[in-house]
């Protein structure tokens, strides 16, 4: 086993997450895609940590897990708030910043 397999796998996961953000309109799927991209970065950090025989990459991945947890709490609070006020999770609805008269 060389590190390249792990890096290719993480890149494929990152590509799937990016594809999910660009093609879907559901807020939950966008949130899960962001989580998927962050986890693929974690795989890359752990791989380089083992390849260089140093603990620093593992520590960075550990701190990334804390960042993922805080991002999840904020994003889910925003989703609940948006659903309560508009009764939809379609991203086409939230166009306040796109309207030209509001600029």
């Amino acid at each position: 086993m060389t590190p390249h397999y792990f890096l290719y796998l993480a890149t494929i996961l990152f590509a799937i997450g990016l594809l999910g953000i660009t093609i879907r309109k559901n807020l939950f799927v966008i949130y899960l895609s962001i989580e998927l991209m962050l986890s693929s970065v974690n795989i890359i950090l752990a791989t380089f940590s083992k390849a260089s025989n140093s603990q620093d990459g593992s520590i960075m991945a550990l701190l990334m897990i804390a960042v993922i947890a805080s991002e999840a709490s904020i994003f889910l609070a925003i989703i609940v708030y948006l659903y309560k006020s508009t009764k939809t999770i379609d991203t086409e609805t939230f166009t306040n910043l796109r309207n030209e008269e509001s600029i």
């Binding site: 590190p3 390249h4 799937i16 899960l32 804390a66 999840a72 904020i74 889910l76 609940v80």
Partner: protein, 167 residues
């Protein structure tokens, strides 16, 4: 040999879980596919001798993040007519693949030109003891910054869920 068989099974689970996550229409099925992805990711960590990361991934990502997402999805109870109306068209998928293919092919090219191999690691690599020693000697400042980040995320989520505003 055994390592590559386990890696192939985990990679299969990861890719199937990720593709089904972005293609299901119902949010609950997407979250359950994401659970599969997270468990397979912790398996990848175990394959890389990162025993503490494996534990943290199971505890935080599977135990907290996915469970919280499933709880939010089932508690706000989205009706079928409130989901996004239009289907994902074939044209938008092709356009998105064309859009993201340059950066992904660049990353693939960079990985294929890398010249690294896995060295033999000693037994204490990735255990709680050695990670704790490194975390509290060289990485103490990032650790404190992450604690401030978690506190601000706590306060921010409370404030967002308290306010009333009409969009």
């Amino acid at each position: 040999m055994l390592e590559s068989i386990i890696f192939s099974i985990l990679a299969l689970f990861l890719i199937i879980g990720a593709i089904s996550m972005i293609s299901f229409k119902e949010s609950v099925y997407s979250a359950i596919s994401f659970l599969l992805v997270m468990i397979a990711t912790s398996g990848i960590f175990a394959l890389l001798h990162q025993s503490f990361l494996f534990l943290a991934q199971i505890l935080v990502s599977v135990g907290a993040v996915v469970t919280l997402s499933l709880m939010i999805i089932t508690s706000i109870n989205i009706k079928k007519e409130n989901l996004p109306k239009h289907r994902v068209s074939f044209k938008s998928v092709i356009f998105s693949i064309i859009l993201i293919s340059p950066i992904i092919s660049l990353i693939f090219y960079a990985i294929s030109s890398l010249d690294i191999v896995f060295k033999e690691v000693n037994n204490s690599f990735g255990t709680i003891e050695s990670i704790g020693k490194t975390l509290f000697s060289n990485w103490i400042l990032p650790f404190e910054i992450v604690s401030i980040l978690l506190l601000s995320a706590l306060i921010g989520s409370i404030i967002i869920s308290k306010r009333r505003l009409n969009i």
